[in-house]
Amino acid sequence: GSASTSSASNDSGSNSSGGSSSSGGSGTIALLLPDTTSSARYESQDKPDFTAEVKKLDSSAQVDYQNAQGDATTQQQQAEAAITNGAKVLVVDPVDSAAAATIVTEADKAGVKVISYDRMISKAPVDYYVSFNNEDVGKLQGQYIADHTPKGGTVVMIDGAQTDNNALQFAKGAHEVLDPLFKNGTLKLGYETYTPNWDPQNGLREMEQALTKLNNKVDAVLSANDGLAGSIIQALSAQHLAGKVPVTGQDATDAGLHDIMQGTQSMTVYKAVPKEAQVAAQLAVDILKGQTPSSDVVNGTQDNGSGNPIPSVLLQPVVVTKDNIQDTVIKDGFTTMDKINNPK
């Protein structure tokens, strides 16, 4: 069957009904992304970059893009649809790392390869893994706070949704760095909460309440991502504290970078999404063509509990501050100064 996103370029003969496995040409790659609300990267970066790279490498390959809107069951349905549509490779960024194992099992049965993208699918024999490490993201945020908070300072932690496995990993990474400092009294944890649904509205209320509770005695705020950071800055600015307190972030969104330029947000964790997408596209096309990816791309292995080490491409998340914006996100073409200064 034909997929719609990657257009009518390759419609010849592939629209015949019934055939469930092979569809003409060199085949379909399914890109399964998790949501549209926790970060804009999936729609604005991963999808276009991945699709463009695939086209560049193999103009006859098709990309079948799906977004699960944050629901693991939906993602499973989408994987089933992709397999039904005859996809040969699934590139899956799991909504839920553990739940996605069933996708791998099903794909296995149908002879379809799976690349675990950005987040590791746990306890399943995936073929490749391309990612930034989630716990590393949390560690970078935690380290930034550790480095930029005056001794004895009070830290507020606004974590992501507790119903989101990734949020748990971010928080875990941050705590790994900060907990020893909290314990030995170097820093004080004044307030910590998870934010239902990553909802910025909830984040705003939480920060307002944190400030009220601590009587504005806040010396640093660890925010799980840029979306929540925006809310946190709103709450800080109502107390005229915006820009006076370090605030972390993640995803290097235009809005987040905008705040960094304004000086109200201190850092964001930049994951070079275009790079990640390109590497994943390369692996997928290689699999499609039946080739083994070269070993200078696959730079390591990762254990996901499946018994076998998973060949992996591990990319390094980078801390972006006002000082290195030019050298990172702008240089990579991730975004432009114009978009940052004038989001949208």
Binding site: G1, S2, A3, S4, T5, N15, S16, S17, G18, G19, S20, A30, T36, E43, D64, Y65, Q66, N67, Q69, G70, D71, A72, T73, T74, Q76, Q77, Q78, E80, A81, A82, T84, N85, G86, V95, D96, S97, A98, A99, A101, T102, T105, S122, K123, Q162, T163, D164, N165, L168
Partner: protein, 399 residues
């Protein structure tokens, strides 16, 4: 001064008489939603030839199994004129109970029983609060759904997703009724149906009550043969009827029987139609209400078990997302009234199929998220609009 009780079309009428009378009176039952379903299917099939393949239908059946179970539970509650907003959260808690016990090494069947029992217990609690304390079901179940989400987080919040390793539990949704067994099932069902209809017809004729004609009975049996043979035939081109779908069907048939043909079912409709009249007729309205909320809790748990089995895990997000709205929508799209007293289990199944087909089809087309949302909303609206417009005759025919 003559008494005059009109008789329905007697046994002399043609095979379509019942059908024609229904059209005339505007009481179309399942017909509108089936028309909507057929239109949706033709639409998707014409855009993507895989849609009606055995494999995709098999996917579809597995995909609606959970919504279907929840939709049945919700239908019971809606028949009473109440609503259950916690059925999604209940399914999440039940999934967590199942998985945590299983991980602790408990026998899978005991896990299932414990999980279903936890759902029933929650339902019982809600039924008690609604019935005895008298707090509106909307609030009890809304507050409940918050509470159960909290319980779920307390159970899984620190560990996150917990995978299932037990094969029995995983197999619930990954095994299929083997092709020949499928055929045997079809034959058994059709024969039972035909015999049942025939006996009922004869019984009524013997008592000189209006009855279906033999022709009509034959026609219905034939239709059942054709539909079920086609479905099984198509599914057998892949792996056969998924066991989860079979279980769903068994539930639908069982509960359809209970609502249509038992005293308990009759009392449910009475309560939904006029609570005070039912009470004055000496019906134990409290017992029925409590039992229905308990039943909804059970069905929520069963849905949760199927969901967990399909995902191979339970997580703090289990039972969240669109599950609740989908299950209410399944019931309502099928034609069950939100105000009580009208609807059936078959409606829930048909509604779940409509929702499932739309989601399945849109995924198959891999449309952008924005388009998906818009098209899903549009199809939902159109499906129910068809139902409304065809039913309008009935509204005009009365109030």
């Amino acid at each position: 001064m003559s008494t005059n009780i009109q008789q329905q079309n007697g046994s002399s009428a043609g095979p379509f008489s019942g059908f024609r009378a229904r059209i005339a009176s505007g009481d179309l039952g399942l017909i509108p939603v089936i028309i909507a379903l057929i239109v949706i299917w033709i639409m998707f099939q014409s855009v993507n030839g895989n849609f009606l393949s055995g494999r995709n239908l098999s996917n579809l059946i597995l995909q609606i199994a959970e919504i279907g179970m929840l939709g049945i539970g919700e239908t019971f509650v809606l028949l009473l004129g109440e609503i259950d907003l916690s059925i999604g959260a209940v399914s999440g808690v039940a999934a967590a109970v199942l998985v945590l016990l299983s991980v602790a090494g408990v026998n899978p069947w005991i896990c299932i029983i414990a999980s279903v029992a936890s759902g029933g217990l929650i339902g019982l609690f809600q039924g008690f609060w609604v019935t005895v304390i008298g707090v509106p079901a909307f609030i009890v179940t809304l507050a409940g759904s918050l509470g159960y989400q909290g319980i779920l987080l307390a159970m899984l919040g620190s560990t996150g997703t917990v995978p299932i390793s037990n094969k029995t539990l995983l197999n619930l949704t990954s095994t299929y009724v083997t092709p020949w067994l499928g055929w045997v099932t079809v034959i058994v069902v059709v024969v039972l149906y035909a015999i049942g209809s025939f006996l009922m017809q004869k019984n009524r004729e013997n008592r000189h009550l209006p009855a279906q004609s033999t022709g009509s009975t034959l026609m219905r049996s034939l239709l059942l043969v054709i539909v079920s043979a086609v479905v099984i035939g198509v599914l057998n081109t892949y792996r056969g009827l998924p066991v989860a779908g079979f279980i769903l069907l068994v539930f639908v048939v069982l509960f359809a029987f209970i609502t249509q043909s038992t005293v308990y079912g009759r009392h449910i409709y009475a309560l939904g139609g006029n609570k005070e009249a039912a009470r004055r007729a000496g019906i134990n309205t409290r017992a029925i209400k409590i039992s229905i909320f308990t039943l909804a809790g059970f069905m929520g748990a069963i849905g949760g078990i199927i969901g967990a089995s399909r995902l191979g895990s339970a997580s703090p997000a289990s039972g969240g997302g669109n599950l609740l709205m989908d299950s209410i929508a399944a019931a309502v799209i099928g034609g069950t009234s939100l105000f009580g007293g009208r609807g059936s289990m078959w409606n829930a199944l048909a509604g779940a199929l409509v929702i499932g087909s739309v989601e399945n089809g849109m995924d198959l087309l891999s449309a952008p998220s924005s388009t998906k949302y818009i098209v899903e909303g549009g199809i939902l609206l159109i499906a129910v609009t068809i139902d409304t417009v065809t039913r309008r005759r009935r509204t005009q025919a009365g109030r």
